[in-house]
């Protein structure tokens, strides 16, 4: 009977894992390609459970990211709130896409998030003016199908709908 009980704590757990993956040290050559774990997780949950995971949670995760990375408070929060908003707005359409199309749409959301973050970098005087800045976008899109399948599996096991 415990098979069918909801286990909602899996959501904060995945967020925690995403935050940890964001600060795990990587070899220097890989640093520009670190996928946007937090953005992917926020977008997934906003798409899968739009009633439960809203813009507020996206914003809160962004704030956690800001603090963790030592960025200006609100920088990632702004980007992620908008990404979550788009995910909720479009969830019915994106959910039925095949995986690769999903990856493209999610890529668009992450690109918007990165663009906003880049603007704020520019405004606060930390230029990151090289193409390497967009590395995370490519890896996030490439990894999206796996992240999606993993999180969907977790969600089904924990009976969340």
């Amino acid at each position: 009977m415990s098979e069918f009980r909801e286990r909602p704590w899996i959501i904060p757990l995945t967020f925690l894992a995403a935050l940890m993956l964001t600060v795990v040290p990587m070899p220097d050559w890989a640093v520009p390609y670190r996928p946007e774990w937090v953005a992917m997780t926020v977008i997934y949950w906003a798409m899968a459970l739009p009633g439960r995971i809203g813009i507020g949670i996206g914003w809160g995760m962004g704030l956690a990211l800001d603090v963790l990375k030592g960025a200006v408070l609100g920088q990632h929060a702004l980007g992620l709130a908008i990404a979550a908003y788009l995910a909720i707005k479009l969830h019915q359409r994106i959910r039925v896409y095949p995986l690769w199309q999903q990856a493209v749409s999610v890529g668009a959301m992450i690109a918007l998030h990165l663009l906003l973050v880049l603007w704020i970098y520019g405004i606060t005087g930390h230029k990151a003016a090289s193409w390497a800045y967009w590395g995370p976008l490519a890896t996030s899109m490439a990894l999206w199908p796996w992240v999606f399948l993993l999180l969907r599996d977790l969600r089904r096991r924990c009976c969340l709908r």
Binding site: V24, P25, G56, L63, L68, L73, G74, A77, K127, Y133
Partner: protein, 277 residues
């Protein structure tokens, strides 16, 4: 919409006015378990390699350290003599005394921060007496300074950050300039050096102490490139930081002058040695 306005106002408050230091401190403590957990495997592997090292390796290391200590002690003896002499001469010149300094070893946490800012996280915080603005050095030279503290950790900005500038002077002739970060850990830019100035490749620059933040005479960088541009008022001079900015695992935090609860500096000045040579 609400969140948009909220983030924008947060950013303005944080960036323009710095009102949110208190809140940031609380939030930083709240996320520190994440940093702790991420750091854990690296700390564990360090510990393991320490405790399972072969006996011969340890013996070799021990021997090497003994030799090194002997050499350093010999140098320290001479240094103390010179220091006393320097103090006496300064007295004669009625110049102010150099301040005593105290240092503390801090370790880097294995946590990647924002790749577009040159910042690192240290395992000492305000609980250990660390405060904002404190200089940070390693065994080779100046690394940076502390920009944020919370009770558990401190964040330090490196000299190579583009928003960091450090008043320095060339050790050979006292030429003063500014060392500005470029964003690459291998390169600093020395600004506002006239084309006619006497500076060449291989010159060592040290802190000048003019900013009031860094104590004078700590080595900073070695000049690697001097390009005199006719037509431009200043030469383009580049230098390589002496500190092993992207490799050091341990750093030293320096207190200068009087600290509220400063313990007496263990080494400098306390010893009664010092005949004039």
């Amino acid at each position: 919409m609400v969140f948009l306005v909220l983030s924008l106002s947060l950013m303005t408050l944080d960036h323009r006015f710095g009102h949110l230091d208190r809140i940031r401190e609380v939030l930083e403590v709240a996320v520190s378990p994440i940093q702790y957990v991420v750091n854990l495997p690296f700390a564990a592997s360090d510990w393991a390699s320490d405790s399972f090292a072969a006996r011969t390796t340890l013996q070799e290391e021990n021997e090497r350290l003994h030799r090194e200590q002997l050499l350093l002690r010999e140098r320290l003896q001479r240094f103390e003599g010179v220091q006393q002499e320097n103090a006496r001469l300064r007295e004669l010149l009625e110049a102010s005394q150099r301040l005593e300094q105290r240092v503390m070893v801090a370790e880097l946490l294995s946590v990647d921060l924002d790749p577009y800012k040159q910042e690192i996280l240290l395992n000492k915080g305000s609980r250990d007496g660390v405060r904002v603005g404190q200089p940070m050095i390693d065994a080779e030279g100046v690394m940076g300074q502390v920009v944020r503290v919370n009770p558990l950790h401190a964040t330090a900005i490196l000299v190579s950050d583009p928003s960091h500038a450090l008043p320095v002077q060339v050790i050979r002739n006292g030429l003063r300039t500014l060392a500005v970060g470029t964003g690459s850990p291998e390169r600093l830019e020395l600004r506002h050096i006239p084309n006619s100035a006497d500076i060449r490749v291989g010159d060592i620059v040290t802190t000048s102490g003019l900013g009031g933040r860094f104590p004078p005479d700590y080595p900073v960088a070695e000049v690697t490139e001097v390009e005199r541009l006719t037509g431009e008022p200043f030469a383009r001079v580049e230098a390589r930081p002496l500190a092993r900015i992207d490799r050091s695992r341990e750093v030293l935090l320096v207190w200068t002058g009087t600290m509220p609860e400063a313990e007496p500096a263990a080494e400098a000045g306390a010893a009664p040695a010092g005949e004039a040579p």
